[in-house]
Symmetry: D5
Subunit: 96 residues, 10 copies
Amino acid sequence: MLFMVEMDVAIPLDFDADEAAALKAREKAYSQDLQASGVWRHIWRKAGLYSNVSIFDVADNAALHDTLMALPLYPFMTMKVTPLCRHPSSIRDDDS
Amino acid sequence: MLFMVEMDVAIPLDFDADEAAALKAREKAYSQDLQASGVWRHIWRKAGLYSNVSIFDVADNAALHDTLMALPLYPFMTMKVTPLCRHPSSIRDDDS
Amino acid sequence: MLFMVEMDVAIPLDFDADEAAALKAREKAYSQDLQASGVWRHIWRKAGLYSNVSIFDVADNAALHDTLMALPLYPFMTMKVTPLCRHPSSIRDDDS
Amino acid sequence: MLFMVEMDVAIPLDFDADEAAALKAREKAYSQDLQASGVWRHIWRKAGLYSNVSIFDVADNAALHDTLMALPLYPFMTMKVTPLCRHPSSIRDDDS
Amino acid sequence: MLFMVEMDVAIPLDFDADEAAALKAREKAYSQDLQASGVWRHIWRKAGLYSNVSIFDVADNAALHDTLMALPLYPFMTMKVTPLCRHPSSIRDDDS
Amino acid sequence: MLFMVEMDVAIPLDFDADEAAALKAREKAYSQDLQASGVWRHIWRKAGLYSNVSIFDVADNAALHDTLMALPLYPFMTMKVTPLCRHPSSIRDDDS
Amino acid sequence: MLFMVEMDVAIPLDFDADEAAALKAREKAYSQDLQASGVWRHIWRKAGLYSNVSIFDVADNAALHDTLMALPLYPFMTMKVTPLCRHPSSIRDDDS
Amino acid sequence: MLFMVEMDVAIPLDFDADEAAALKAREKAYSQDLQASGVWRHIWRKAGLYSNVSIFDVADNAALHDTLMALPLYPFMTMKVTPLCRHPSSIRDDDS
Amino acid sequence: MLFMVEMDVAIPLDFDADEAAALKAREKAYSQDLQASGVWRHIWRKAGLYSNVSIFDVADNAALHDTLMALPLYPFMTMKVTPLCRHPSSIRDDDS
Amino acid sequence: MLFMVEMDVAIPLDFDADEAAALKAREKAYSQDLQASGVWRHIWRKAGLYSNVSIFDVADNAALHDTLMALPLYPFMTMKVTPLCRHPSSIRDDDS
């Protein structure tokens, strides 16, 4: 089941730089693990912004919630969640 | 080059039903041709809404404009366009 | 899987009164069938408004979409969809 | 008498972790007591957000106010209150 | 129990003038009956606007809903409902 | 001359508790003096919020401004001011 | 007593041109009479828009309401009313 | 050439009181000099708010920008700028 | 003196097609004359939208107003006007 | 390929003045290098605001992103990005 999640990241200007770098590294590893497993289907950067558009493929709403809450940068993010479903015009069988 | 386009469709209540059906059929054919050619990479329905989230892969802004303007349902749509680019955490080589 | 759906209804002032009454009767029957089957768990009126807050229990996003699209009054409604999940403080086993 | 209350929680990034944990524990106990007594009828998490949708059953507006003001996390919350009433299509006698 | 209700009235430009006058006369009579009975405690015009701020004193949310739905001009109004309660600084015993 | 004033209060989480208590005590005394003199006609709490709806009866805009600016909690408040006047349907001679 | 009133004018595209011209002529005459009498102190066009910013000098809120309601183009206008008062830095004795 | 400028002032709660008083004194002197020279034509307080509406008469956009940037309180202000021009109904020759 | 003007065009679905074509032809001729004379410095399409971003170089606010009001498609447009001035980092002498 | 980028700058009141001056100097040099190379085609100040409107000419969305992310003041900016394309009425061959 697919969801679009739009994430805006805002790390305070005075946040410790080393800690921020460590969090970003953990975020990247976490994201790439979920991409490899197929849960995090797509991630794109919004051009010019510290924001992304992501597509998640999860079992249900609770799985989405748990996946997002475990993001290392979650406390710095504003989330917008949009449930998606197959479009009647889609020609891709695997694109739900 | 990728763009997210969010389309909300609003056909007036008193619009001729046959004409609406014809437009929707042309819209579907047009969309499927562009999906087959790789221009319209993804199309998902927003659950519960007469709206979609789409990802387009075009040469430039002008190509995006021409592609959207030719949508048979364009006069009934409200569009939101977001330019995207590769995310540094993405593991998919073909996903930007 | 639960969703909150907020529906605002706006029937044009000059819409045929008999047709409106027929649509409302069909809407009520449709809603009550879904309530009886457990899909439409709750429906409350927002006090003073021609709007409701509803809780749906469906298999997935697609089932939600199909259920809402089949509402007889759908063309007159503005929808807001919010995916829900079990709250860690909830004491009701059957409430998510 | 029913009210929908939507609560968004925002604890500052630099708030003491132990104090936050203590407040959350008190919040959970307070919520579960009110659920057991029937005042806090439902609580659901909004998927992906640190927010909930709750349904309260109280004697009047003043009782709602006092109940919410006593929430241990109230100073960290943004509240949206919507008065509800029985929907004419509802088939559940006990659902307002 | 008190509620603030803000009502904005918008009668279409091409609405029949006689019918509008008749509706306004019925609206005035209905409002004055409710004022006399104590249900509609206050009504003020917002200066320069075709809008009012009203205070209702009703038994519960359902009574508020029924009272507002019966307004002759309801189909032309946009409503905003705010539940009120006694303020701890109020010195008027009868003002909540 | 009447004005509706809606006041939202937001005292920072780390503000000194004793100083806040002193300010609230002064605010309450100031409000009650103005209520006794008839300037502050009504004050109601918005249920669930740290906000009030108030009706002021003042000589002119300048008197309203001076009255509000002297509120001990003014620096912590967001104000919304709406000028009111007698409604043609009002039956209360003293209510505008 | 001064008020800023911002007026946006929107005459429907299919409104009768002669009737519109007649209304505008009456609006202009009405405005100029009020300017001559000192009630309508200033009127400026917002550059590029069919909107104006006006300053009214009236006895009270009710006088403002009656003055605005009598505008020939009132049914086509959206109004925003802001009560003003003398600024402590003003050097013009007659400017509030 | 005229511009309406709306200024909202927000000085942080913990800002040094002496420094604030000095800035306000400089702001007042600066404003009164510009009023005397005819550049700052009008300044009114928005009733109940720490905000003003001002009318500036400057040679061009650049002169407006330089005038505003030199305001001692500029770093604490949120500005809204609206270019104005003579209204065709105005009867005051010097009011555009 | 430069202004940014953002124009959104919305021609009703049932507007006569020939009349619309004639208006668009006149709009194009008008725009190109002003471009040739240097008044309309730039015009760009917003990709995917029936909207443009334009830069005008005019003598003053009144000239901008008259230029925009004479647009053949003005009655179908929503305008947003932003006064611009030379940026201190600009290296182009002729660009403000 | 052209983009409009609107940048609002907000440097905290308590940010070190020397550091701010150094950042602004680097920002200016960076901007002027990009203007000289043709990437940053235009930059204008919004009159009265600490904001600019800029036109960028870049190879693609990714180039825009990298260019903006390298702005020395980027952490203090709020960005709005609008993809542009040639307008059919434009008479300037080099204005895309």
